[in-house]
Amino acid sequence: MFDVFFVQQLVNGLSIGLIYALMAIGFTLIFGVLNVVNFAHGEVYMIGAFAGLLAITQLAPPLFAVILVALAFGALAGFGLERIAFRPFRRFRDEASLKSKAIREATLLSSLAVSIIVRELAEKIFGSNMQSIPQEYLLLKPIEIGPLSFANGQFLIFGLSIVMLGGLQWLLKHTRVGLSIRAVANNPMGAAYVGINTERTIIATFVIGSTLGAIAGLIVGLYQGAIFPAMGFAPGVKAFVAMVMGGLSSIGGAVVCALILGMAEAITTSFFAQGWGDLVAYLFLVITLVFFPTGLFGGGRERV
């Protein structure tokens, strides 16, 4: 059973799981602060990939610079998204509105609307097909270790994900903006009353979450050689499942569940036909909702 192919699949699963984790963190951060699911997160992922691709085709800079471009566009997309889809629903600041299900759902739908509009716009401009990526930027150069063969993209995914996950933890635990984010996520009204600028904290959360998403989109695009307007949908769903499994507001839980999900998918595809892999995520979602309504790591504040 533990043949080379299997180990190979596990490593593939781990790297794709890390990508889900990066996206799931974006979801989780924003959910933590606003209590709303940001359905446009998949489009931020797509924007990151397209921004990087445009930089490549226009300027052909080194990969490092391409990542910075994706980072900048991700931050911008997060900022804009908050302005367009989320801010208008926070006009009412009293407690009843903050807890109102109707306002939460309106916000959720507005993020879904922005997601659809952005995706359709991208299809209008770029066409819905996969974009061609210059060969030298594809992250598919094989690296052989013993009998195993990896793509250099996998190492980049490993390295970058771990750096970003670690960086995020540091940011949340040791910086002022991190403390503000944790405060607002815990109790937005209490935070505002002791002088925390909640609006700015929310923007910061969007910018940070979207940056992670955009970079994930770029690396996956280059690694899988597939950059197209609807590319954010599938990983968006997986990351959403990881967030729900992790208990909605637990970053650690989301990361662990994203890794489990990625591995489970990879193992499934190694025993069954390709198409079954996608089913795993939905199966996990159903199992979580039925048996663990507050998530596997549910310090959850409420049922999913």
Binding site: T175, R176, G178, A183, N186, V194, G195, I196, A204
Partner: protein
Amino acid sequence: MTPLLEIKNACRYFGGLHAVEDFSGHVKRGERVGLIGPNGAGKTTLFNLITCFTPLSSGAVFFDDTDISSLKAYRVARLGIARTFQNLRVMPNLSVFDNVSIGALGALGHSPLAALTKRTNYANDIGRRTWDALEQTGLQDHASELAANLSYGKRKYLEIARALALSPRLLILDEPAAGLNDTETAQLAEFVLRLSGEGLSILLVEHDMNFVMSLCERVMVMASGRKIADGSPQEVSNDPVVLEAYLGSEEEAA
């Protein structure tokens, strides 16, 4: 010298409900003022108006001669009005230290760059303010505990500590003694008196009349959104209008 806090003809309507109706009042520097009234009189709404969490329908609130009526809640906090809540609003999943440092963070504000680069450790200005507030409230031994694990009484002090970390000039306490036993209430009164002795102005809502009467130098009484009395605890407790608001008029009672 103008009072520290001055409320001028404050009104707040929720649809047809007149929660606060033409309320005027003030808190002088260093004064301890109580705000009492039957349930639903609009006391908490008035607090929300002062701290700018609920916008005024009309009227104005001045703090230290500045019109704060249209400011955002966090700005008001930075100006020096800190408050605690009837139903506590501590951050349960953060440590006691982090909870209090939020107040210190709020007081200092920060540029976006500082937000990303400045650490929140024990050594810098935030840490010092946090420790001061923890020591004032006697919570220093609990600094690393999760706020959720504190006892109810300790959590009350935690909220006060968080408010103190702002270095406020006016401290607004919403039912600080609710849920405390007699010993704890007496300790709290002593603590508030000590804060007041350090020059802090206090405005508090409380249902425990002994607490209010022994602690406050002046008491304002609210009923149905209006101010019906304002004076020393002695005057207020003998005021027939106040007695009527609390107990109903004599004819009704008969």
